[in-house]
């Protein structure tokens, strides 16, 4: 297991190089960012030319990339167009988004698995149907709508929480945004758990356990749930990255200046240092999350082993 983990960690190097280049290339392919710095007015050609030169934008792609990577390896991730170093942006955005993601993941795991187990064990009954309806609502109603409605109810009508999150973004203020963010994933975790439970409820080891006369909650948690969690855990592993990088709508609604927002800004302003810096960190998060998931497989199902 140790060697397996080590090998996986080593694989990060080519992925790091590959993804930085891919993203760098994609931002490059968007075209010249300088024109947009001048607002609705046409840029002054001389100033624009000078800015391009300073940003190495007048160089061929490979020189731009090597220059950028040279910077990265000496610890500079470049600056955004408003003059802020990207490292500073990352230092302020990632902790906030991490907290938000934790709330969302805890929410979708706790509620999703509970609902999934319940509806899986009572297939076709009222709860199962309600969960299905919830799934449909969550999928069909855009996050923007669920977010603003909840924000209005909690923030204005009932006054239970601040509608927007303060710059420090303490955990308590991130609860509502986290729930909104986790809603769609909740649909996935619930249905995945439910299906797994349904499949495994008839598995041999469960029958064995039943036959042995084990208490029911022990059967469900020790035998049934444990073996049903693999797809759920896999999904959450893939979801963590998506939640961190793709929370643009939720972050907008609740005015959270997190990764999604910075990435969005970076892309629209076509600022490659920002985009490449953030995406690189995100890719590393994916890698770690997926590694963790793979190691969890072996914990959840002892038959799975890693050489």
């Amino acid at each position: 297991m140790g060697r397996y983990a080590l090998r996986r960690l080593l694989q990060m190097i080519p992925v790091f190089l590959g993804s930085t280049f891919l993203i760098f290339f994609m931002v490059y392919a968007l075209g010249d960012p300088v024109a947009a710095l001048f607002g609705d007015k046409a840029p002054d050609p001389a100033t624009a030319a000078r800015i391009r030169k300073d940003l190495y934008l007048d160089e061929p792609l490979w020189r731009q990339y090597t220059h950028y990577m040279g910077q990265v390896f000496s610890g500079h991730f470049g600056t955004a167009f408003n003059g802020q170093p990207v490292t500073e942006l990352m230092a302020s955005a990632f902790p906030v988004t991490l907290r938000l993601t934790v709330v969302a993941v805890v929410f979708e795991m706790a509620l999703g698995i509970t609902l999934g187990v319940l509806s899986g064990l009572r297939r076709g009954r009222g709860l199962d149907t309600s969960v299905l309806l919830l799934t449909l609502v969550v999928v069909a109603v855009p996050t923007f709508v669920s977010g603003t409605v909840l924000q209005y109810l909690f923030g204005v009508t009932w006054g239970w929480a601040r509608p927007s999150v303060s710059p420090e973004a303490p955990l308590a203020e991130l609860l509502l945004p986290g729930v909104v963010l986790g809603l769609v994933s909740l649909a996935y975790t619930t249905r995945l758990t439910r299906t797994s439970i349904v499949e495994n409820a008839r598995a041999d080891y469960v029958r064995t356990a039943v036959a042995k006369g084990l208490p029911r909650h022990r059967i469900v948690t020790r035998h049934l749930l444990r073996n049903s969690l693999i797809p759920v855990v896999t999904f959450i592993g893939t979801d963590i990255g998506a939640l961190m990088g793709g929370a643009i709508v939720t972050e907008r609604i609740f005015n959270i200046h997190g990764v999604g927002y910075q990435l969005y800004q970076g892309i629209l302003r076509q600022n490659s240092p920002t985009v490449v810096g953030f995406v690189t960190i995100l890719v590393i998060v994916f890698l770690l999350a997926n590694l963790l998931v793979d190691l969890l497989y072996a914990v959840l199902d002892p038959r799975i082993r890693y050489a």
């Binding site: 968007l30 855009p142 923007f144 649909a187 990255g241 990088g245 038959r303």
Partner: protein, 345 residues
């Protein structure tokens, strides 16, 4: 292999009685009750722990009905009311997507701004949108783009994802490393950036670039799910048995692993169908998706979202249509999964 040997030993006694009784409700009824059926039936039909892979599938002599797995499943499905209902719904949606004028004779493009956001009126049961266009007509006409994007993108992502994920999970080692790391890189591409790069060069108004793009970004997730599922299933006894009996990789994967590993993929794919339809709207909203004046549920939902306070009916109908579609596919997926699971027979 660290097998839970003790459990397996117990099984031969325990599983038998429940073999064909009880269903998934086993746990909701007191345990001992399931033993009532007596060992006779169970032993006669499914004596071995790896009976999840029934003899008939591996071509063994024990196939009582003589049908293959898939035709068996089809046989089950035809009698399943859930399958019939969802199938009919999907059929209806597809017909509407092809011939929207069958049930709507209005013009989805024509708007009368004077009626902007008005509620239902005679001949316009769903009211008007922000541009004064008839919501009913647009909901009907929106089916074409949305259903095409939803079904094709889901199929594409599910097939590509499960193929690559299945291979990675089954072979492991370098295959796994390569395929999984490629997936990781794809995970990292932000939708906005990818959309701007890949789709802004496309000027044609067709849905296929959008479908292709969604497949491109959607397959890694399904691939991870499929891989996880295959990793689990391939350690099961019946797979080990099949391999021990000399089944080749292709055969093992397709006949033994795939039917047992497909459930999570179906679950994720059916929900993803809905999210892909919405994703199309996000792309269109960003100016890189379907080109105007194409009508789609996603586009109408996203433009209705900001107008929720002014005209909730703008959201209700296209979102309702999307829900019905997703519901139909979820039910269909459930029915197919059940049909593929021999333990439910």
């Amino acid at each position: 292999m660290p097998e839970p040997f003790e459990t397996r030993y117990d099984m031969t006694e325990a599983i038998a009685p429940a073999g064909s009784g009880g269903g998934p409700m086993d746990l909701t009824t007191p345990g001992p009750q399931t033993l009532k059926g007596g060992p006779r039936r169970g032993l006669g039909r499914l004596p071995l722990p790896w009976r999840k892979e029934p003899g008939r599938r591996s071509g063994g002599p024990a196939a009582p009905t003589g049908r293959g797995l898939w035709s068996d499943a089809w046989h089950d499905l035809r009698r399943n009311p859930v399958f019939i209902a969802s199938g009919l719904t999907i059929f209806f949606l597809v017909v509407i997507a092809i011939w929207p004028q069958l049930i709507a004779n209005g013009n989805p493009y024509h708007g009368d701004l004077a009626r902007a956001q008005d509620g239902p009126a005679p001949g316009h049961p769903f009211g008007y949108d922000l541009q004064g266009r008839d919501v009913y007509t647009r909901t009907v006409y929106g089916a074409r783009a949305s259903i095409t994007v939803g079904i094709c993108a889901t199929l594409g992502a599910a097939l590509l994802g499960s193929a690559l994920g299945g291979l990675a999970g089954y072979f492991g080692g370098w295959w796994d490393a390569l395929l999984s790391r490629i997936a990781d890189v794809f995970f990292g591409i932000p939708i906005l950036l990818g959309g701007l790069v890949f789709l802004s060069v496309v000027t044609s108004g067709s849905v296929w670039p959008v479908v292709g793009f969604i497949v491109l970004l959607g397959w890694p997730q399904i691939s991870r799910i499929a891989r996880g599922s295959v990793v689990t299933v391939k350690e099961h006894d019946y797979v080990q048995a099949a391999r021990a009996l000399g089944a080749g990789s292709g055969r093992t994967l397709l006949r033994h692993i795939a039917p047992n590993a497909v459930a999570p993929v179906i679950v994720v794919a059916t929900i993803a169908l809905g999210t892909y339809i919405s994703l199309e709207a996000t792309l269109s909203f960003l100016g890189v998706g379907l080109k105007p004046p194409t009508v789609s549920w996603g586009i109408d939902i996203s433009s209705a979202a900001t107008q929720l306070r002014n005209a909730p009916h703008m959201l209700l109908w296209p979102a309702g249509a999307l829900s019905v579609t997703v519901l139909a596919f979820i039910m269909l997926g459930d029915a197919v999964r059940d049909a593929l699971d021999p333990r439910l027979r």
